[in-house]
């Protein structure tokens, strides 16, 4: 099951990260090293800094001190070179209310730098349980359906060696949770690295699972 070609994927390294929001220090001296084929799960109470850590890891937020490295180079320096290898799905679904599921998905993929064919989009949406709603505007969909739509991008992103997912299972029903867990497990077994935050005790079969629990203060 587990591919051994993990050496081709650079490792993501966090060195001595500190994050201060306002007056509060969320975490201090935090570090990890994530190689291809590994899953990093970040736990912790609400407000303990999970999202901040993810935003630092993908370069949206600058840490108060410390740095994140991709293949040994600071992501601040790599910029687009790093971002073109990364899939980040945040709290917000990045969907346009006035566009349909298929249009939203195509735009997300094009922005990420790859083009997709019509049938690939249909397949990705079907996989996330979207058959029949491809042409409905996002406005009329429920919260869970919108989350599925955002996550459908994962089904098309197997070429990206790093996924960073913020609460991917929020608002999903059990069948969708299973589907997303499968997507993540498949991706890790392909030798890619995945970081996620979750409150669920998600069952993802990965060769190596790292865990960071943020304590909050």
């Amino acid at each position: 099951m587990i591919h051994t070609n993990t050496s081709g994927i650079p490792s993501l390294e966090a060195v001595d990260l500190q994050c201060t929001r306002g007056e509060r220090t969320l975490f201090n001296g935090l570090g990890f090293r994530l190689r291809g084929g590994e899953l990093l799960r970040i736990g912790g109470a609400n407000g303990s800094g999970k999202t901040s850590l993810l935003r630092i890891a993908c370069g949206l937020l600058e840490p108060t001190s410390g740095e994140v490295r991709w293949g040994g180079e600071s992501i601040r320096k790599l910029q687009e070179e790093f971002w073109s290898r990364l899939v980040y799905i945040g709290h917000s679904n990045a969907l346009k209310d006035d566009l349909t599921a298929a249009e939203n998905l195509r735009i997300a993929c094009t922005l990420a730098g790859f083009s997709v064919r019509e049938e690939q989009i249909g397949e990705a949406l079907r996989r996330l349980g979207f058959a029949g709603c491809e042409n409905l505007p996002a406005r009329v969909l429920s919260q869970g359906q919108r989350r599925r739509m955002a996550l459908a991008r994962l089904a098309l992103s197997d070429a990206f060696p790093l996924w960073i997912l913020d609460e991917p299972f929020a608002a999903l029903d059990t069948s969708a949770v299973e589907c997303v867990q499968d997507l993540i497990a498949e991706h890790v077994s392909r030798g890619a690295a995945v970081i996620l935050t979750t409150h669920h005790e998600a069952r993802i079969s990965a060769a190596a699972t790292l865990r960071i629990d943020l304590e909050g203060s």
């Binding site: 949206l60 687009e80 971002w83 980040y88 990045a94 566009l99 735009i107 922005l111 990420a112 730098g113």
Partner: protein, 222 residues
């Protein structure tokens, strides 16, 4: 990369087409402001001819400011902006595409309708041409400068008022040169100098503004 830029422009136009009211508000505002002047001032052709370029330009400036808030706000609210920041395309290019789309939606309609509005002021034909050309070169500059302000004030409470304060001083030179083009042409000097200046401003803004707005966006999103 070109595919991503085309996609951004196409998406913004598609969104505008599905929500025409936003486009029409700006256009209607422009038409109303310009049309009220001849009614308020009275039918004195000489006076109307004198004030026409200034009135049309001021109205265009206010109308384009009205649309500025929306340039990044909705993308910021729904998280698309984060995806653009993390996209494979350099952010400056994405911003340039967004500004271009924004101008197509909120600037170009003003340029196209300005000759019709200028008729109310009894402007001679060649002056109408000069006015339209000055607007065609000037309104993209307004959108480009406005993009920096919109990026800086993104997500702030009361950002709208701050945005006007930020961009107005930068709009003033464009207004003076732009309105000056038709005035110079009317006085027989020819408006070439002003048109060339506007062209220069446009090139300058097109090179630097998207880059500055991109830097501002990264700060705002943190």
């Amino acid at each position: 990369m070109l595919a991503a830029l085309r996609c951004v422009i196409h998406r913004d136009l598609l969104l505008a087409a599905r929500r025409m009211s936003d486009v029409l508000t700006v256009l209607l505002f422009f038409v109303i402001v310009v049309s009220l002047f001849p009614l308020g001032i009275g039918p004195d052709p000489a006076l109307l001819r004198t004030i026409a370029p200034g009135v049309v330009w001021v109205a265009a400036l206010l109308a384009s400011m009205l649309a500025l808030n929306r340039m990044f706000a909705s993308d910021h609210a729904d998280g698309t902006l984060e995806q653009m920041l993390l996209g494979a395309t350099p952010l400056g290019m994405t911003v340039a595409a967004k500004v271009f789309a924004h101008w197509l939606i909120s600037g170009l309609p003003l340029v196209l309708i300005s000759p019709v509005l200028a008729l109310q002021f009894d402007l001679p034909q060649e002056l109408i041409g000069v006015l339209a050309i000055s607007l065609a070169l000037g309104t993209p500059v307004l959108s480009l400068i406005g993009a920096i302000g919109a990026a800086l004030t993104l997500g702030l409470r009361g950002g709208g008022a701050l945005l006007s304060l930020l961009v107005l001083p930068l709009y003033v030179p464009v207004l003076i040169i732009g309105a000056g083009a038709a005035e110079a042409a009317a006085s027989g000097l020819g408006g070439q100098a002003q048109i060339l200046l506007l062209g220069g401003l446009l090139v300058f803004a097109a090179v630097f503004a998207p880059w500055a707005a991109a830097v501002a966006l990264r700060i705002s999103v943190e």
